[in-house]
Amino acid sequence: MRFYIRRVGFYAVTLWIAVSLNFLLPRLLPGDPFSILIAKLQRSGDIPPAVENSIRLLLGATEDQTLWEQYVAYLGNLLRGDLGVSVTKFPAPVSELIAGALPWTVGLVGTATVLSFVLGVGLGAWAGWRRGTWVDSIIPSTTLLQSLPYFWVALLFIYVFSVQLRSFPIIGAYDVFTFDGPEPTWAFAGSVLFHALLPAVTIVVSSVGAWLLGMRNMMVATLSEDYVITAEAKGLHPRRIYLTYAVRNAAIPSVNGFGVALAFVVAGSLVTEQVFSYPGLGKLMIEAVRNNDYALMQGVFLMITLAVLAALFVMDFVHGLIDPRARHHD
């Protein structure tokens, strides 16, 4: 029970810190985002008082309130689910924009993360099993994959496949000329898959190396454990040793890492989305940043943090249920 109380407490504290960071950052950092924003808005017409008030509250330009009163008002707004109003896509509420972008990110980055994990751990297990052969000499090259700037890989892919070969679309999540919006047809699903291919391959290429290397090193360490030697001495079939004795144990750290990776799916590949103009959270956030749409930017940041925390929280509980050691160590 103590374990669960501690975990709940931890996530509550973290959530509170994230929210407070969001509140304090525009107030503590130098510069005056409020004036910049208002000046920018006035250029494009009159500002409704409600919007100005909401911006004041977000960015802390309220003169007649103490910091504490602002903080209370800010928390109150959050609790009602009011993340403010987007300036660039006025008058769309921030929460609506986020809800529209979230499925694209989860779909793309989620699928790519699962693919990358399966591929990396599979190859890593094989490379570990074949230790001491030529396979060892290609292992260091996986670090090249890891040190590639992933958005640069995306640029290369676009240049080669979309610009030179013209075989893949450059932007978007589906063909905007054929479809007005998402619709439940096979043609639409095909278009979505086709558009997701290059971004997904980019994410897989830049993340598979880490899984591979981690799994391979664990395999090498596991295969020199005494119980594996015992299994060999007993004359067990190599496939049984490979799967039941080695892979199963060596995969434990990778599976734990996979849980965390899944939790961070939402935080995912901000820059990759931007390169491919994929309509997910990343692009939403970056567009907000470019247009000084602070309400939208803060909203996306909060949403990402919240999703990561929620996912990790669930993962922790599952882990605690499955593995009693986790409960007792803490």
Partner: protein
């Protein structure tokens, strides 16, 4: 005879190290000497979008900047950001990792809580938020943002190590002998963490350079300075992709990748020093296979836990004339 496989191994281990260090040195040299040998990276007197040719070995950008000159100047910027942010991250992870791992009670609880909170708050979005509020960003400010958000991962690793060192006999002896905590941390514990620290530092540098490139690509990098990331940002803005100017956007990314790879190679060799199994197990498997090829029937092998087991399988070559001899390993 038994020394032979181990000697080649030692050389092989050094191979990665040598290659890695050589590349890092070459890039550092390029950053130091390059800007003196190339033209002014901000001079737009050249024709726009020239392909690579003598005089402009990497061509020019759409504004007529020489790409090679920008690359050299960018190397300075990127390396500076990487080293500064990496150092900051490692100092922070030392405080939050080693101090938390060594002490107990409230200090440990507090420091660990901060580490864990920072670990789960997504880094890149946080960086984007902070960078976007700061309208004026120098190279140093960007390095500061990167360093201040990149430390929790290595703090966790260091904390774990410091915890296990804390319970070693020699540390207890030092404590009983009346050494003060700062001295124990600096003199007894820190030297033992050095290989790990080096690895974490190099990793932090790679991460910072990648992070800077990402931020700059989004237009949130240092204003006024040239880095590899700002080059990519300008290439994107100048539609280098659709205009086919590969000489503009390929070199900066490639240099980041090569530098990252070189630093990882160095890390690889450090890893093999810290974790001998990574070296010994493949070597043992290799010599067993050699022995099998030479016609020896080897049943059990795998010298997992230390050098003692390795010579046993090194018996291989000289027994060639008597093919079916049994070797008990």
């Amino acid at each position: 005879m038994t020394d032979r496989p181990r000697l080649t191994l030692r050389l092989a281990g050094h191979g990665k190290l040598v290659v890695g260090l050589a590349i890092v040195a070459a890039i550092a040299l390029f950053a130091i000497v390059g800007p003196m040998l190339t033209q002014n990276p901000r001079s737009s007197d050249n024709p726009a979008l020239l392909p690579p040719q003598p005089g402009h070995w990497l061509g020019t950008t759409s504004l007529g900047y020489d790409v090679l000159a920008q690359l050299a100047e960018g190397a300075r910027g990127s390396l500076l950001v990487g080293v500064v942010a990496g150092s900051l991250a490692i100092v922070l992870s030392l405080v939050f990792g080693v101090v938390a791992g060594y002490t107990r009670g409230w200090a440990d609880e507090g420091l660990s809580l901060i580490t864990n909170v920072m670990l789960v708050i997504p880094g890149l979005p946080l960086m984007i938020v902070v960078a976007s509020y700061l309208q004026v960003r120098s190279l140093w400010v960007v390095a500061l943002i990167l360093g201040a958000t990149a430390w929790p991962g290595s703090a966790i690793v260091l904390r774990f190590q410091a915890r296990s060192l804390r319970n070693r006999d020699y540390v207890s002896a030092a404590r009983v002998a009346g050494e003060r905590t700062p001295r124990i941390l600096l003199v007894e514990i820190l030297p033992n963490l050095l290989p790990l620290l080096t690895a974490q530092f190099l990793f932090a540098v790679v991460l910072a350079i990648l992070g800077e490139a990402g931020l700059s690509y989004l237009g949130l990098g240092p204003n006024g300075s040239i880095t590899w990331g700002t080059m990519l940002n300008e290439a994107q803005g100048g539609s280098a992709l659709t205009r086919g100017a590969w000489w503009w956007f390929i070199p900066p990314g490639l240099l980041i990748a090569v530098l990252g790879c070189a630093l990882s190679l160095v890390n690889f060799s450090i890893d093999e020093v810290i974790n001998p199994r990574l070296r010994q197990a493949p070597a043992a498997a290799r010599s067993v296979r050699k022995a099998r090829k030479a016609g020896l029937d080897i049943t059990a092998y795998d010298g997992g836990d230390g050098p003692a087991a390795v010579p046993a399988v090194g018996v291989s070559a000289p027994l060639g004339d008597e093919p079916r001899e049994k070797v008990q390993a």
